[in-house]
Amino acid sequence: MNVPVLNASGCLDALTAPEVAATLDAFVTKTVTPLPREGNPPPRIAEVDGWMLNSIGLQNPGIEVFSTSVLPRLQDLGVPLWVSVGGFSSSDYKTCCERLDDLDAAQVIELNLSCPNVDEAPETVVELVQASRSATSKPLYAKLSPATPDIAELARSVADAGANGLSLVNTLRGLALDQATLRPRLALGTGGASGPALRPIALACVYACANAVELPIVGIGGVMSGADVIDFIAAGASAVALGTVLFADPLSPARIRDELERARSRGYSSAVEIRRLAHGLAFASRT
């Protein structure tokens, strides 16, 4: 079964774990911003009720150091590269996209339009996509948050604004309290919630967007197994990205590919076949 398997942004450092990166169809970088960021104070992570919460806060070396000293070393790994960019205004997105535009190593730019651990950008998601589009001719994937009232509608406007694909989804905002002190377990209170509990929510987003736009979709959210990949493809994704599962199991890309291979022998002969099965029920897009 030929389903591209990527990592989710922020869930793998290809330079500290090149062996893991080598097992992916493309490596997606942690989100890069125009200026360097130290990120949020620790504690930054907690596990609660099947969710992982994180509050990393976009720690990154900034687009300049990234472009001159990180990207070349990533290129040496020989894995196709997607660069995730983020920021706090349309000019931030523009700055990053412009800087990357003439760097061959960056094959795709993923726009992180949805990080719950930094204050919201004052501009709309659509404006951020438009600004990015004006700054680069590279393929742009818009990464959306599931915390939006009508994601299919948002996908339509993002497509109109020039996105070439969708990455669905980023984390939801969650809170875990210490049972003894009743204080938040993360230093900054809430954090982004990821992991298997996100899966049904992510699947609903993929399903709604696949019925709304023609763009290719990278399915993200709680993928733990080959069966989960099949669900995402059936819901309308054409690739998947692994996030939290990489923390629990750095060998998961190979394992999941194996599981897909075995699914093929059980009769799911191709991703297309899965989608056909699932979208036979196309009227179901009504809700």
Binding site: C11, D13, P18, K30, P43, P61, S69, F247, P250
Partner: protein
């Protein structure tokens, strides 16, 4: 603190964690109470014990993320961990029965630098965990252990010959006056106090960790105003 500190963000470290680490499913040999702690013994299979102070990520049944644990003992054919059951993950590990199997990843991180001349081991509470294996590697140097109760102090039997104090006495009261190379592990306030008294001490720190191999940026600690990943720059700093 020792170790080359990262500048910032992606790619600052050369440590190729997965280069030396393996991931295998190991069988539980036994789980024994040691005072209020639990000694979890696993069949070693093909895994390396690594350098004392390095750690392993242990699958905790029913939990999404594995939990970091220092290697405590490396008897032939086994890897043994000393656990303090304080939350769902450590409780799940403490409840493992013989023959059950869990995934283990390691050894990870940077252990203690063993090229020391006058080693003295200092540990507080569950900070005892890496000491038995470290003591073995260093030929049984002097060791100072502090515990919060007599019951916790039962665990001192894992390090025969160590000097033991129980609260309200603190282990830092025992630190030798003469120059020595301190290797310490314990709660943050204890490590801060040790550093105050012995600035060149090697200290094994803790932080919540999701991955243990540099992937998540969850385990940062502040060093000279910057956040570095404890799992690949430490845990011994």
């Amino acid at each position: 603190m020792k170790g080359q500190h990262a500048v910032l963000g992606s790619g600052s470290s050369q440590t190729q964690v997965l280069g030396t680490a393996r991931r295998e499913r190991l069988t539980v040999v036994d789980n024994e109470a040691v005072g209020p702690y639990v000694l979890l013994r696993l069949e070693r299979s093909g895994m390396e014990p690594g350098v004392p102070g390095q750690f392993f990520m242990l699958e905790a049944p029913g939990q999404l993320l594995p939990r970091p644990m220092s290697l405590c003992l490396a008897p032939p054919g086994e890897l043994a961990f000393l656990l303090e059951p304080i939350g769902p993950g450590t409780r799940a590990l403490a409840a493992l029965a013989p023959q059950e199997r869990i995934y283990v990843l390691g050894p990870l991180g940077n252990g203690f630098d063993l090229a020391v001349e006058r080693p003295v081991l200092v540990a507080g509470g569950i900070g005892l965990a890496p000491m038995p294996y470290l003591s073995e590697a260093l030929g049984g140097p002097p060791a100072l252990l502090g515990f919060r109760s007599e019951r916790h102090a039962e665990a001192a039997r894992l390090l025969p010959g160590a000097e033991v104090v129980v609260e309200p006495r603190l282990v830092t009261e025992l630190l030798p006056g003469e120059p020595s190379d301190i290797l310490a592990c314990g709660p943050e306030p204890m490590l801060e106090a040790v550093r105050e008294l012995a600035p060149s001490a090697q200290l094994a720190w803790e932080a919540p960790m999701a991955c243990g191999y540099g992937a998540c940026y969850g385990c940062v600690v502040e060093v000279e105003g910057r956040y570095i990943r404890l799992c690949i720059e430490g845990p011994v700093l």
